[in-house]
């Protein structure tokens, strides 16, 4: 099964309130959002056309992709707009320790087999992830 580890990322004040910032954690592009009372982390690329989610406008617990306004739930990683869209992005656990944001990511060895988040068991992103992720 998966081995996960907590990674120290950056002082929390580097992520402004109600904004996101992207960070590359051993090859994963992850977007971290500061919602004041809590932090969220999801894969940084929109399942639609790979838009940078960290640059989106935060609305409640969701972020709106800046490219074509797909909406992603930051808690679950699932796409909430378009409504019928089954795609999702991975969501990661976060915590703050002495003012530093930590994100829990799978260990690099587990990277290829283990997706930290499944959309109801199906392959979440078929045809949606950028080519590099879906190429055979």
């Amino acid at each position: 099964m998966s081995n996960k580890q907590w990674v120290r990322i950056t002082p929390v004040q580097n992520i402004p309130l109600r904004e996101g910032r992207s960070v590359n954690i051993s090859g994963r592009d992850i977007a971290i959002f500061n919602l004041g009372d809590r932090l969220f982390a999801v894969d940084g690329r929109c399942p639609h056309k790979g838009g940078p989610l960290a640059e989106g406008i935060v609305t409640g617990n969701t972020v709106v992709c800046p490219l074509h306004a797909w909406k992603i739930d930051l808690e679950t990683g699932s796409v909430t707009r378009p409504e019928a869209e089954p795609a999702c992005v991975a969501a990661y656990r976060t915590r703050i320790e002495s003012g530093i944001v930590l994100v829990e990511v799978p260990e690099p060895s587990a990277k290829d087999q283990d997706n930290p988040h499944f959309c109801g068991g199906q392959n979440p992103a078929s045809g949606h992830f950028p080519a590099s992720n879906t190429a055979p």
């Binding site: 120290r8 402004p16 709106v64 800046p66």
Partner: protein, 803 residues
């Protein structure tokens, strides 16, 4: 045989009374004397004229044709100086002698000038009639220092009007409370804060002793030894009833001409009405009593003596842009058995107080939110028992049925207090005259033609009763903020909310979305002329980093090249930047600009610094560019210097935000090489003149721009263009391009409200534009001083994950 009725005074009271008399059987040959040279006008709206919201001729109540139609002899510009009660004649200052059978004195009041030195100096004004207003308008100019003596209703209206005209206004008040006759100390403090928030300075507890200056007002001195500078001074310290004619006629006179409940004076053939009378020990200085008195007097004088006047509940409404105040009845808490019920919210500037005595409403004060004034006025008039409603005095439960309020209203309830029009009268008019619009209702019943505060109730009544009534469909901003944008702008203008989050918390769901957040960002920026608390998280990524996001997450950089005119040196710098940062694509845009595409966010600040050029705003809803042709410099056809005009237009408007992107063009001849007629704003040079065109488009939609105005000089063209620019900024909905905006408004309306608007309106637009422009700055300066440490920086994890 008709009797001769002479009316002295062509003001609101006299004419309103004559209107009532005309409703009775014809009995009189009427002559009206007015010492002003204007036809009868709505004095309440003088402050709107001063504030430039209305033109002088828009406040006329009865035109000359009305007098003619009713066979009334109108003698304008004649002051009646003598009255002989025995011989029954009046003498005018033109030497005329006019006999009467009945005399109606409606001489109103004059400004009270408190004892002080120097009131005869040049630059000292009162604010009472149309001539005073015109004189003030002539004198007012941006930057002039105006001192208004008197912090009552009239003084504050004058202050606000002058402030809208761009004057630097100070209000001086003798007491410790503004409008102390209408407000308690707390209410006065809220009002003071609102006025100060609007930019009017307020000095309390200052006793003015002299107007300083050598022949001309230069300042005002106070009893405590201090003084303030002034370019001109307005005295608005109260009014004094004009009673001289009453005295000369031998009538009983106290402070005013004494009348009984039938409006009769001590002489059976002489009557008096309005501000010059004293009824039951009270002289009224407000409008509602005039109408009530007029009705009673009309009955009495036409031989239908019966209706009585029982006095009027004193109610005052201050309705000046941005400040709403309502006060009625007795707000003192001192009387035994009086309870005060209060609500206040300092952040919103809302203060409400009701005084309740013996279970009934005794008085009310509303500051900042007067939407319930009708309900309270009704409780005051009807003396409703409030015992069962004690918990809902300040917060009525939400009405399930929007029409319930008007449905619950009794037919006899007065809707328009100014003109005394009841709900029943309005319904009757709707049914009998087939009225379906507010304008028709105004014409027919005069309802809502006074202070205008009943407009909403009239609308609701029309909606409920008139079969053909169609309300303008208005779309709410989004699901988070359930207000149409125009309504929201109106609300926010009167509030002190300077940030998107504050607006969302008070008028929205507290969260917001990608639709309302950028819209509200724009709105607070526009309303506060740039002086607001900008919240970057509410803005689209382009406005967070001042570059245009591309499909791969990189950005494009477009420096400002005013008018599309560049130089070899500038081009070389651009080329160097493109090489240094390995810019994947360098492209000439359709807007005569150069686009560097595929730039990484982290490189933006350094690229801007290397370019050394301001932002071209190609990424935002803002001033994009002015496209120009070569005009007269090299072109053999050009007849106007379109290049210079375009560069200047761009310079005057650059760095500002607009409801949607704004593209402009300037051409030097009708060949239109820079396509000015399909731009949001276009300047089209012709032999000897310039056309300013607006609302053009050549995008999603193709639309030929409408002609705004044709002017002679380049400067006039620039002025007209910038006027439209600010008008669009203030009145368009977010993401509404000028071509939709101009179509929605209609070009005639746009012209009327910009280039043909009263000077004061134009000056207001210009002043707000100037203020916004002063605060605006080149967004790319943030490259050197980021708003946030990680605005452009790629965050690197503090620790590496072990592979």
């Amino acid at each position: 045989m008709m009797q001769k009725l002479v009316v002295v005074g062509n003001g609101m009271a006299g004419v309103a009374c004559v209107e009532q008399i005309l409703k009775h059987a014809p009995k009189f040959e009427i002559t009206i004397f007015g010492d002003e040279t204007h036809v009868n006008y709505n004095r309440i709206l003088l402050s709107a004229v001063l504030a430039g919201e209305k033109a002088a001729d828009e406040i006329h109540l009865n035109g000359l044709d009305w007098y003619e139609k009713h066979g009334i002899a109108l003698r304008l510009g004649v002051r009646i100086t003598e009255v002989d009660a025995e011989r029954k004649t009046v003498t005018g200052d033109d030497g005329s002698l006019t006999p009467f059978d009945k005399l109606l004195i409606a001489t109103g009041s004059t400004p009270l000038i408190p004892p002080m030195d120097g009131v005869k100096k040049e630059g000292v004004f009162v604010f009472r009639n149309l001539d005073d207003t015109r004189a003030l308008l002539d004198c007012a100019a941006p930057g002039k220092k105006a001192v208004v003596i008197g912090g009552g209703l009239l003084g504050l209206e004058a202050a606000r009007g002058l402030q809208v005209q761009g004057c630097d206004v100070t209000v001086v008040h003798l007491m410790d409370t503004l409008m102390e006759r209408q407000l308690d100390f707390v209410g006065g403090s809220y009002l003071k804060a609102k006025m100060e928030c609007l930019g009017v300075k307020v000095l309390m507890e200052r006793n003015t002793t002299a107007i300083l200056g050598n022949g001309k007002a230069e300042g005002v001195a106070f009893k405590d030894g201090s003084s303030v500078e002034a370019d001109f001074v307005v005295i608005a310290a109260g009014i004094r009833p004009n009673v001289e004619l009453g005295r000369k006629a031998g009538l009983q006179v106290n402070r005013g001409i004494v009348v009984n409940d039938y409006l009769e004076t001590s002489n059976p053939d002489i009557f008096a009405v309005g501000e010059c009378v004293e009824h039951n020990g009270t002289c009224y200085g407000l409008v509602a009593p005039l109408f009530e008195q007029g009705k009673v007097l009309a009955a009495t004088i036409t031989g239908n003596r019966g209706p009585v006047y029982g006095g009027t509940i004193q109610a005052a409404k201050l309705k000046i842009m941005g400040v709403d105040v309502f006060s009625a009845g007795n707000f003192s808490e001192k009387a035994p058995g009086t309870d005060a019920v209060r609500y206040e919210d300092p952040a919103l500037g809302i203060y409400k107080k009701l005084t309740v005595r013996d279970g009934k409403l005794a008085g009310v004060i509303l500051v900042g939110d007067t939407s319930d004034s009708h309900r309270y006025m009704d409780w005051l008039r009807s003396q409703t028992d409030l015992t069962a409603m004690r918990r809902q005095l300040l917060f009525p439960g939400p009405a399930n049925d929007a029409g319930l309020d008007v449905a619950e209203m009794a037919d006899s309830k007065v809707v328009c207090g100014c003109n005394g029009v009841t709900k029943g009268a309005i319904i009757q008019a709707v049914h009998e005259k087939g009225i379906s619009t507010l304008a028709q209702l105004k014409d027919c019943t005069r309802a809502s033609t006074g202070c205008g505060s009943c407009t909403e109730v009239c609308q609701q009544l029309l909606k409920a009763v008139a079969p053909e009534f169609q309300e303008e469909a208005k779309k709410n901003l989004c699901k988070c903020v359930l207000f149409p944008e125009d309504k929201l702008r109106e609300i926010l203008r009167s509030q002190r909310l300077r940030s998107v989050q504050e607006v969302l918390e008070i008028y929205g769901n507290g969260v917001g979305c990608e639709i309302c957040k950028p819209a509200l960002s724009y709105m607070v920026d526009m309303l506060w002329c740039g002086d607001h608390d900008e919240d970057r998280s509410a803005r689209f990524i382009n406005d967070r980093v001042h570059a245009n996001i591309q499909k791969d997450g990189t950005f494009s950089v477009v420096p400002r090249i005013r008018g599309g005119v560049t130089s070899a040196k500038e081009l070389r710098r651009i080329a160097d930047v493109a090489e240094k940062y390995k810019v994947p694509m360098v492209k000439i845009t359709g807007s005569q600009r150069i686009d560097l595409l595929g730039v990484k966010k982290a490189d933006l600040p350094q690229i801007w610094a290397d370019l050394g050029m301001p932002s071209g705003q190609a990424y935002t809803k803002g001033v994009r560019m002015v496209k120009t042709c070569v005009g007269t410099d090299f072109c053999r056809f050009g007849v106007q210097d379109s290049t210079k005009a375009g560069i200047e237009l761009e310079r005057r408007l650059e760095h500002l935000y607009t409801p949607h992107k704004l593209k402009m063009g300037s051409v030097g001849c009708p060949r239109n090489c820079a396509e000015a007629t399909v731009k949001d704003i276009g300047l089209v040079g012709q032999e000897g003149s310039w056309q300013v065109v607006v609302g053009g488009a050549a995008g999603k939609k193709v639309r030929k721009a409408d002609l705004l105005i044709t002017v002679e000089s380049m400067e006039e063209a620039l002025q007209a263009a910038t006027l439209f620019f600010q008008y669009y900024r203030e009145n368009a909905n977010y993401l509404e391009r000028t071509y939709d905006f101009v179509e929605r408004k209609g070009i005639e309306t746009v012209r009327r409200e910009t280039v043909y608007a009263p000077l004061a309106i134009q000056q207001g637009l210009r002043e707000r534009l100037r203020k916004s422009k002063r605060i605006s700055r080149d967004a790319w300066l943030e490259g050197d001083a980021p708003r946030h440490p990680t605005q452009f920086v790629q965050i690197e994890p503090l620790e590496k994950v072990q592979a």
